[in-house]
Symmetry: C2
């Protein structure tokens, strides 16, 4: 159906038909009806089974078509062969939302599964009916106690929207998200996918944060564009699984999704303000962080601790995630000095144990926290608090006290790190304050604060700059050259590739084609010595292997000689090769060699790759990716995030490379890929970055 249509009938149905309900009930029966009746859902439930009868005291319809009332949502758990027919009935009954729990479609390893998959899509084609699944637990909405699953699980209500491709992220939402508000398991993602779910959750006022558990993606570009509209207003966190090679293989066989190249996903997430969570253990804490705190204006954290050793761990964690350890201002220092023992200089981490022993642990904690939160040099505070005893009887219980101080400083996160045998109860009591997040490890605390700060400083309310197509591009020249190549049946363009990128304003080395020794001599004189010469032939992929390249030619006579030698050698080695002549080009030295590449990604369309030349790209894999086209700022970020960027920036006394010109080349290459889908792959290798400008020395284009 039309992609913009709201998913409301999935999430807030007034009436549900459960098609394929079994008569088996009780533990181990996995009966959808029994489960749904047990959740407290208030809508109408119509069980459907061709056998009819009564299940759990509810009369059973033989078909959805027999139900004499409107049905918002159908949940199908029949055997797989029956599913397409049932979907057709749902369409006939004008049911807009269909969840298919049944497995064995694009997730199956047989042909039959794929055929049934196509039949389902054919059944809804052009209709108002949408499908979630197949191979799904369906939908959870804790706001109305609604859950289409066949297994019983607890859900903790939280203003978090979850989209996933595996039911485990709904069933164990406590582990993966810390709770759930609305959850959609798209399963095989035959119809409804990430983009539509993201649009829906973005517009749903009950949802404050969106979690995506992604194995693969089909329409990456539309997803990216949607995400760019959502993330400035609602944080979107993604856990992308299948990041390893084996994981990608497993993801492919699990939901039939394309896992794609992981680095491209990372780039796309970064380009659209989505926060990628690498450690699944951090997602739930990050949700709590976003729900609890209002803002964080800088990245300077203070630590208040009862243990020096724990304080060091917290500082290590802060450094790991790019947070600064705050330097207290004189006012805060003076206040702390007044209560610290005379032999102990206050510092960050502030070890308040000695002061607490002397002057009362509760009093000193409250005083230190208030002073430090009042310090302009501090943006957030982590309180390291033990849970050795039951909080109900623990004399060191300072939950209420920390909450009271935190309530007076709502513009700065007050966080806690709890350890000890009673930490779960302590954490739950901190959660009840609604003011303080209690983390289980210093890593989790500092990671979450760093991401929270990143969201507020870089993503929230940010407008993604629109792409401005570069000027002075010659689209026709590209089209004509590509067409000529296609007509000639070329599988790769080499000499023509420099023409094509030049048409998009990427400077290329001066070069002339010669068709005789004489013209080679003239050409050499016209472009200036030294000159490099190489065979121009679509049939000689590895030119140097067959003597098709000569370097360091310093006179017209040598150029004429080289023409003869090159053509003779190629004719000798590859007698059938079509030879278009010999290309001469200025032999440029100096500068830094980089590689600019682009290719058509199955998920995201045109994608750019950048890396320093030679070993850096090949051996050190020091490359960066972006979905094309890129703005100038994105191009600069792309260059800056390689480890080797300092070499370009002028390390070791070298003159810095012209990074502005390099960024311009990336912008232009991205536009070329975007404008010309006929280009499947392009490589500029090397592009020479000099102190004043760039120059492409060689390029290759593979047509799509």
């Amino acid at each position: 159906m039309a992609p913009q249509t709201s998913l409301e009938p999935f999430v807030n149905p007034q009436s549900v038909a459960l098609i394929g309900v079994s008569s088996r009930t009780g533990p181990g029966a996995f009966n959808v009806l029994e489960q749904m009746m047990g959740t407290g859902y208030k809508g109408k439930i119509y069980p459907v089974n061709p056998k009819g009868g009564v299940i759990l005291d509810v009369p059973v319809y033989r078909s959805v078509l027999e139900i004499d009332a409107p049905v918002d949502l159908a949940v199908i758990s029949t055997p797989r062969a029956a599913v397409p027919g049932v979907v057709e009935q749902c369409v006939a009954k004008s049911i807009r939302a269909v969840v298919i729990i049944t497995q064995g479609f694009s997730d199956a390893s047989d042909e039959e599964g794929l055929r049934l998959h196509r039949e389902i899509l054919a059944a809804i084609e052009g209709t108002e009916t949408m499908v979630v699944g197949p191979n799904t637990l369906g939908v959870v909405n804790t706001f109305i106690n609604f859950n289409t699953s066949f297994i019983t699980f607890d859900t903790t209500p939280l203003p978090v929207g979850v989209v996933c491709q595996s039911g485990v992220f709904l069933a164990a939402s406590g582990d993966f998200s810390g709770g759930i508000g609305i959850g959609i398991d798209t399963g095989n993602t035959a119809d409804v996918g990430f983009t539509r779910c993201l649009e829906y959750l973005a517009a749903n006022p009950q949802i404050e944060i969106i979690n995506l558990h992604m194995e693969g993606l089909r329409d990456g570009r539309r997803f990216l564009e949607t995400a760019r509209r959502v993330t400035p207003h609602k944080p979107v966190l993604v856990l992308k699984t299948g990041s390893s090679e084996e994981g990608a293989r497993a993801a492919g066989s699990h939901s039939g999704s394309m896992a794609g190249e992981d680095a491209v996903f990372s780039a796309a997430f970064a380009q659209s303000g989505i926060i990628r969570v690498d450690d699944p253990g951090f997602m739930a804490d990050l949700n709590r962080t976003f729900i609890t705190y209002r803002e964080m204006r800088g990245n300077r954290v203070a630590v208040i601790t009862i243990s020096g050793g724990a304080g060091i761990m917290a500082v290590d964690a802060a450094g790991k995630y790019g947070l600064q350890t705050a330097r207290f201002s004189p006012k805060a220092m003076t206040a702390l000095e007044e209560v610290f023992p005379h032999w102990m200089h206050p510092d960050n981490p502030a070890d308040i144990w000695p002061a607490g022993m002397a002057k009362g642990y509760r009093e000193i904690t409250a005083l230190a926290l208030d002073q430090i939160l009042s310090d302009e040099a501090v943006d957030a505070v982590l309180c390291i608090t033990p849970a050795y005893l039951d909080p109900d009887t623990d004399p060191l219980n300072i939950i209420g006290l920390i909450g009271d101080v935190a309530a007076r400083h709502r513009h700065k996160p007050t966080a806690a790190w709890i350890f000890g045998p009673h930490k779960h109860k302590y954490c739950a009591m901190f959660a009840e304050t609604g003011l303080v997040v209690a983390y289980g490890t210093p890593d989790s605390a500092m990671y979450c604060l760093s991401q929270f700060h990143r969201y507020h400083s870089q993503i929230k309310n940010v407008r993604f700059p629109a792409f401005e197509p570069p000027r002075n591009v010659d689209q026709n020249r590209v089209r004509d050259t590509m067409a000529a190549g296609r007509d000639a049946g070329l599988t790769a363009l080499n000499e023509e590739a420099l023409d094509i990128i030049e048409a998009y304003g990427i400077p290329a080395v001066r070069r002339v084609m010669a068709d005789s020794p004489d013209s080679a001599a003239r050409a050499a004189e016209s472009i200036g010595f030294p000159v490099a010469m190489k065979i121009a032939s679509p049939d000689v992929p590895h030119k140097s292997d067959v003597g098709g390249i000569k370097l360091n030619i310093c006179s017209a006579g040598d150029a004429a000689l080289a023409f003869k030698e090159i053509t003779a050698k190629v004719r000798e080695r590859i007698p059938d090769a079509r030879v278009n002549g010999v290309q001469l080009q200025t032999q440029v030295s100096g500068g830094t060699e980089v590689i600019l590449g682009g290719r058509w990604d199955p998920q995201f369309g045109p994608v750019l790759v950048y890396g320093l030349g030679g070993i850096f790209t090949e051996l050190m894999r020091d490359v960066s990716f972006r979905v094309a086209p890129v703005t100038r700022a994105e191009a600069l970020a792309m260059i800056g995030e390689t480890r080797s960027h300092k070499i370009l920036a002028g390390a070791r006394g070298r003159e810095p490379g012209d990074i502005d010109a390099l960024a311009d080349c990336l912008v232009r290459l991205g536009a070329l890929l975007q404008d010309h889908p006929a280009i499947a792959e392009v490589d500029i290798n090397p592009l020479l970055v000099t102190p004043r400008g760039c120059l492409a020395l060689d390029a290759l284009i593979v047509p799509g």
Copy 2:
């Protein structure tokens, strides 16, 4: 006291004197006597306080000297000024073990603290008395319910020995180690430190695994040697805090310890078979892993899952930690195919949900687990198991069943990853089996299995090879050259540095010193062209800046001219410079430039650094460290662990560098540093690695 003396009186005291006990008791009083009486410790307890009287119905001695029975251990919590005097009394009373809880010694920021610290050391100097602390919670021994702390905390008995510098690792041992057997908090580590504790715990039969929580170390070399004897027999895990710059600063002010360069610690741990745990959250799970499993013969893991999505996460985690995803052998495949639905091809991860739905979840789990554990292509299995319901009533509870199968395959770890709201109860029930470790995340499971396999394949029962000093070294030449430099008051040796490393068998470029234009001309002819020439002067640190270097000299005449020019320019720019002449050396080209360095580390003594030349070391920080001296195998490992090692190995069609010769240079440089403590720092930059041999082109030595 003598370092070898056992710590037995700390850990298993028959009688304890508590010196400085307060009369305040009850919640918030932090009374050591009250705490110790509450733990169930069966030994004698003698409270001591100059005021005398009775506390908690126990008569109080006015001094330890008044106690008319032997005392094994004294626990001091008096004000700091009184501590040295009390320690003297303990010595007089022949108390062998003293714990000083009091703070404010080397941890203090005042001079008085350091003075008291020295007085304590003076009091025990040459006696049988040992001190743990000051600034410590002291000792925990759960086997006898003994605990010297002033705070009450739970301890779960486990055969784990813990040594730490911060009491939090004892008080929250459940979080940090998953439990504790014997724990020693060395606090400021004035006397008893890591080495002695390691020796003691290694010999203690109640302890199976040792955990170190280390902020800094004083006698790194002795620690390393001790660890090498221990780790092949007992796993030693270390959490090194203060790894960040800020963390190191905090560690320094916390316990007055030297945090040192983190990479050197990593190297030392690796060289002695200590497993460094980077994520504090993994330590407890790793302890459980070592306690539960017997062995793991290879690194191929299988995953059995009820969720495809969770299976992918597990495979991602396996890849992250270097484990292989097992390929099932035909026998196991056939067995799985028989129970899987016909549309589902068995694979690893094995998603058993569809088969379980059709044929019984419990039956299929047991069958699949047994078949997969029987598969010769599998070394360990992770079962992904939900905890949606209370295990006491959950029809999916398969704890006993997994345990039964695991019991039949004790040579392969059977692990579980549990999620869902009842996971803690599930984990506890799995723990009761004593056969299966239940992990909270796939990351933790795969990390622990990878480290367990690493221990069994690389550390257990391994004999660390003894260092064999290299042959053909000329110690006298080094000593003489260093002495000459010292006599001349040189702060850095340059020309002499090549002589010194050459004396240890590291090949250096051919070079001759010239003292006149004529001798320069003769020298140039004797060593062969092209020649490089540079000023030889201890007063010209940056030779090229003052025209003190000339390259590409191709004739005797040019050499004579260059001599004149170089000496003239240097005299003009630095008129007072002592000029020893001009050094000529063969100008070598080709090969790969690397940097070999060494320096005296405050913790570990001589340390080697290796990296590829230029940008790799300076910009990419692609370097490796080892405590010197190193064996040939260690030298090879050092080279191999840099990211850039593929360049040396012959990437991109280059001839491979002579890595054997490079390793030999590292071995020799290590021996040089070891034999000659007068060398504080040495840098060979560059060392040219050619396909046949290495050649040092330049070197610098800083005397100590």
